[in-house]
Amino acid sequence: MDRERHIKPTTLILDSLHKERERGGFVSGEELADRLGMSRAAVWQRISELRGMGYVIEAQPHHGYRLANVPDRMLGYEIERSLGTGIIGRNVICYDAVSSTNDIAAEMAEKGEPEGCAVFAECQRKGRGRMGRSWIAPTGKNILMTFILRPRMRAVNAPQVTLMSAVACAEAIRVVTGLPALIKWPNDILIGDRKVCGILVELFSELDGIRYILVGVGLNVNVRREEFPGEIVETATSLLDELGQKVSRIALARELLQKLDENYSILRESGFSSIMDKWKEMSATLGRSIRVTWPDGKKEIGSAYALDADGALLLRRETGFTARITSGDIQILGT
């Protein structure tokens, strides 16, 4: 299950191939053998192994080997390679199939895994959203990832992590695809008026504080709209559908970890208001007319006019009075 075990004997070869690729050149089998202290036959064997994993490695007589393409698989090595993040992604683990990445991360967190660990999977057997809703994604096309945080804050401030994660996801999508990703309160990522990314935040607390927080990210990357289940086919989208071309999941995963790391450090060092400023800039909700479904099931229409200091959404009711939304679902109706 753990890809890293397969990749480790070949890591040194990959390092060399990547380095030469950045220079645009080939590296000879002899040089590889010299560098790594193994025979040319052993190098050949490793190259074959890598090809078996889906790496496209060209071999030319008198030139040597050249890395032409990295497989479209969530490989821990490719995600972690010269990532340069401080906390998020300092341990990256990739699985083929899991029940859900939040389940795996919870097991690890319970065993004392430090914060920043990120768990990726190609497929979830029981992917889930909030309130018992399922999260469905075809194998090998999307990003399914959970990371562990252990912030030193009171449980009441945990929603800061929700908004921080949304900011990071929207930024990563913007950097990699150029698409104008926006945030629907508090943490859905939209392109146009369709949802492209969902975030599930699970808090494990004690009365005196947070033990850990799991942030699960489900990002529709290379799935086609036709593949969505019926109930979301009109409301969901993918980067492939919006962009008209496939997006490198590895590049996106790396950017996502980088943006999460960046914003987590902003949250810790500059405070929540800096995160809220970014959130407001990318908001799809503020200034819009919305329909709120309160936790008791009652529905109400009003205008989302501001974000409160704790991240709650402020609603101007039809009566002219205001209300704080901290729970329940909202639907954007128009300007």
Partner: protein
């Protein structure tokens, strides 16, 4: 003065477009100021102190009352959900025996889902909150009779 009252003042300030509000009563001082977008900007230390006092009061109240059983209390402000999804049966019901690791409910705030565990082994003797109801920090959610 509790959090609820402060919230009401903030709502009134919004409703009447007041930019500043201050009051003094029995050695208690509070000042609120509105920022450019109409949101309340000042998270003044006083408000946090009041929040702490309210929390402390809730904990102290709990100690005074000495209920029949033990209490499972909310670790955060949020919304109480008795079941994992609107259509499923509740995590626990009155009369049910729970173990320390059993999930008894979810408290949610701004999409942060917090599964609350019983933390003590015992028999649920009362569910004190309705599904979808807002709860405060330290508010008792269940009464539980510990069993060995």
């Amino acid at each position: 003065m509790n959090l609820k009252e402060i919230r009401e003042i903030i709502n009134l300030m919004n409703d009447y477009d007041l930019t500043e509000f201050s009051m003094e009563r029995d050695g208690f001082k509070m000042a609120l100021k509105r920022g450019p977008e109409g949101a309340i900007m000042s998270q003044s230390p006083i408000i946090e102190r009041v929040a702490e006092l309210v929390e402390k009061a809730a904990v102290e109240k709990k100690e005074e009352e000495q209920p029949r059983g033990a209490e499972i209390v909310s670790p955060m402000v949020g919304t109480f959900y008795a079941s994992p999804s609107p259509d499923s049966s509740p995590y626990v019901e009155v009369g049910q025996i729970v173990d320390t690791e059993d999930v008894v409910c979810i408290i949610e705030a701004m999409k942060v889902m917090n599964e609350i565990k019983a933390d003590i082994k015992g028999k649920i003797i009362d569910v004190l909150v309705e599904g979808g109801e807002p709860v405060e920090f330290g508010q008792p959610l269940f009464l539980i009779e510990p069993v060995e």
